[in-house]
């Protein structure tokens, strides 16, 4: 006896096809436009000799974290990457992460605020976020290609989708965690909804939101590597090349580069988040 097979895949595919047919001209245009932007950032970073960049990044790490240790690690780590001849792919990885994270924050924080204020939206978005986070990251690469073509923009698209959930979740959580008495105080003095949001809820939720952004950056970093499969260059591309050529040494070198970038970003962001907490 034949059991009817539900056309789950077919439905999704025809849905994507529909969107590709009607909207891909727009996404392709957007893709070309964004790609120019990415190239500009990368070439700006590549314009000075690497040691200037390294000093700038070190200074930035010190300025944001105010920790000598973190600044020293940044300096030594980046010098090692330069020494391993991985400076160019590292710069493009950093550029991709910066853009993807910025987009994820721009999308995630407002959605998180909305989810905190509207119970209905919260109920709708929670299962969607669960789905987004459990879906294997590779799957996002497939629809990225018809919309944005091979290359960095498709990588950014799938990276944003993969890394936006923690920004939404923790923004919403941070706002919901503001003690009831503080909300009552804001209300009792006659605050409007936006006054309450900007003067009370968001400032108090900031440490939690920063923790969400930190997670978003880490997820973006892991996704940028995976996205090398659809032509994103950078450190992920080096790993991908090493797999295809079975060059273990080269693969580990690129892997160490990724680890260094991850540690620098994580420690700096933790200090930024920790400082907003300590100032309260």
């Amino acid at each position: 006896m034949d059991i009817y097979r539900l056309p789950v895949g077919e439905v999704i595919e025809s849905g994507i096809d529909f969107f590709v047919e009607h909207f891909s001209f727009a996404t392709q245009a957007f893709s070309r436009f964004t790609e120019t932007g990415i190239d500009m950032i990368i070439s700006a970073l590549m314009y000075p000799p690497p040691w200037v960049d390294i000093l700038i990044f070190t200074a930035l790490a010190w300025f944001l974290s105010k920790r000598i240790g973190i600044a020293a690690f940044t300096l030594l780590g980046l010098l090692l990457i330069w020494n391993m001849d991985l400076w160019a792919p590292t710069v493009s990885t950093i550029a991709l992460i910066l853009i993807a994270t910025l987009l994820a924050i721009l999308i995630g924080v407002p959605l998180g605020i909305f989810a905190a204020l509207s119970q209905v939206f919260f109920r709708i978005i929670t299962p969607i976020l669960d789905l987004m986070q459990t879906m294997p990251a590779f799957v996002y690469l497939i629809p990225a290609i018809p919309f944005f073509g091979l290359g960095p923009v498709g990588a950014i698209f799938s990276t944003v989708i993969f890394s936006v959930p923690p920004a939404i979740r923790l923004t919403s959580l941070g706002i919901r965690q503001v003690p009831l008495e503080l909300i009552e105080a804001a209300d009792a003095f006659g605050s409007s909804i936006s006054q309450k949001l900007f003067k009370v809820q968001l400032p108090i939720a900031t440490p939690t939101i920063m923790a969400g952004i930190n997670q978003t950056i880490m997820l973006a970093l892991s996704m940028v590597v995976i996205a090398a499969m659809i032509g994103a260059k950078g450190l992920g591309g080096e790993v991908w090349k090493a797999i295809q050529r079975l060059e273990a040494g080269r693969g580990f070198e690129a892997g160490i580069g990724i680890v260094i970038v991850a540690i620098i970003l994580d420690r700096v962001m933790q200090q930024v988040g920790g400082r907003t907490k300590a100032s309260q």
Binding site: P179, E181, E184, A188, G190, S192, I204
Partner: protein, 396 residues
């Protein structure tokens, strides 16, 4: 005094079908039954009362008695289910969201149990919050905030971080934040309950002296009867969402409306509650300093069977004479009272509590004189009258 707040037939029922619960309440079904049968919580049930201008009304009851809910219904932090809340002639329950916001800005200051200070703002910024919301220009905001801080004896702490302050100081900031608004009604939700007993007592004293200056209308929630007695011009006692008794401290203590109130007030330390006014005796005779001599004074003491007598001069209390000294003076043939009168008197006012009177009674060798603001003698207290007053309470 005019009524600032009038509350009529106020109900707050938590649950999707308040009508059903309301009907059950009106049929005399208890709060617990309603919870059991239709899973609706009754916060406040049929509350009606007024608050007069410039008085401190204490809402008292155990936790779960609905006192917090009742006060939040006044400024609609909780929306009442039924009933009217009229504040300065405006029915608050009829206001739109925007009108309500403006009404709160103008008329309500609120102080919270756990202070509810904003952790990301320093002391002055906390006090300024309400003014900032009203878009008061920064320079005036700062001025009014500093004034309010001065009122609560925190001048100079404006730039401190909130977490650097002790609990008592934090609550002063909370108080200043409400004062800075210059609103006429202050809602204080267990404002001193989170403080330790000594600091609490200090804060109560300060609130009272502050109140003499600013004359706000205050609704003060408390679960502590001693606090209610100390602060309240009048007290509302609540149980299971209902108001069980309304009255002055003495009315509630000496004439509890029912067993519940009687139980509640049983443990009160009467030495704090009984005042000179309750236990003083009318002086039956007084010597007149200008006209009486020792002989006349002695005679007056004999007629009222006292061993001492107070003397007045120009209607004011002037001194005290003992029978012993008067008898000696008569024997010596002295005409004037000057040699035997003791003019360094210790006196109390009618509001003095038994705690203050008892040490005087043991120390002085004459009865404790009670005087009014013009230094006129209005009563005397002897040991017997005070003890009788303490033992008497609540037996009616």
């Amino acid at each position: 005094m005019t009524d600032i707040i009038q509350v009529e037939g106020l109900y707050k029922i938590f649950g999707p079908h308040p009508d059903k619960a309301l009907e059950m309440l009106k049929n005399g079904i208890s709060k617990d039954e309603i919870m059991k049968k239709i899973k609706h919580g009754v916060g406040v049930s049929d509350a009606s009362f007024t608050v007069k201008e410039g008085e401190i009304l204490v809402v008292m009851g155990l936790s779960g008695s609905g006192k917090s809910t009742l006060v939040r219904c006044i400024n609609r932090l909780i929306d009442p289910s039924y009933g009217k809340v009229v504040v300065k002639g405006t029915d608050v329950t009829q206001l739109s969201t925007k009108e309500l916001r403006q009404f709160r800005q103008k008329h309500f200051g609120m102080v919270f149990q756990h202070f509810a200070l904003f952790p990301h703002r320093n002391v002055r910024q906390n006090v300024e919050y309400g003014l900032e919301i009203q878009k008061v220009p920064p320079s005036e905001r700062r001025k009014r905030a500093d004034q309010a801080l001065e009122q609560v004896v925190l001048a100079g702490y404006g730039d401190s971080a909130v977490r650097e302050l002790s609990g008592g100081m934090q609550q002063r900031v909370g108080l200043a934040r409400a004062l800075a608004l210059e609103a006429d009604v202050m809602l204080m939700d267990e404002a001193f309950s989170a403080l330790d007993p000594l600091i609490r007592s200090d804060m109560q004293d300060e609130l009272l002296s502050l109140q003499e200056k600013v004359q706000k209308t205050i609704m003060f929630i408390s679960h502590d009867l001693d606090e209610a007695l100390k602060l309240g011009d009048r007290i509302i006692l609540m149980k299971d969402g209902r108001i069980v008794q309304t009255g002055t401290a003495e009315e509630i203590l000496t004439n509890p409306a029912n067993d519940y109130v009687a139980k509640f007030v049983e443990d009160v330390d009467m030495t704090k509650v009984i005042t000179a006014r309750n236990v003083m005796l009318k002086p039956r005779e007084m010597a007149n300093y200008s006209t009486d001599g020792p002989k006349a004074a002695l005679h007056k003491m004999k007629t009222c069977q006292m061993s001492t007598i107070f003397a007045r001069r120009d209607k004011k209390l002037y001194g005290v004479i003992t029978a012993e000294d008067a008898a000696q003076a008569v024997k010596d043939g002295t005409r004037s009272l000057d040699d035997i009168i003791e003019t360094q008197l210790e006196t109390v006012t009618a509001d003095a509590s038994a705690v203050d009177i008892i040490p005087l009674l043991t120390r002085l060798n004459y009865p404790v004189p009670v005087v009014d603001d013009n230094q006129r003698l209005i009563g005397i207290i002897i040991k017997g009258s005070l003890l009788a007053g303490l033992a008497d309470r609540g037996t009616e």
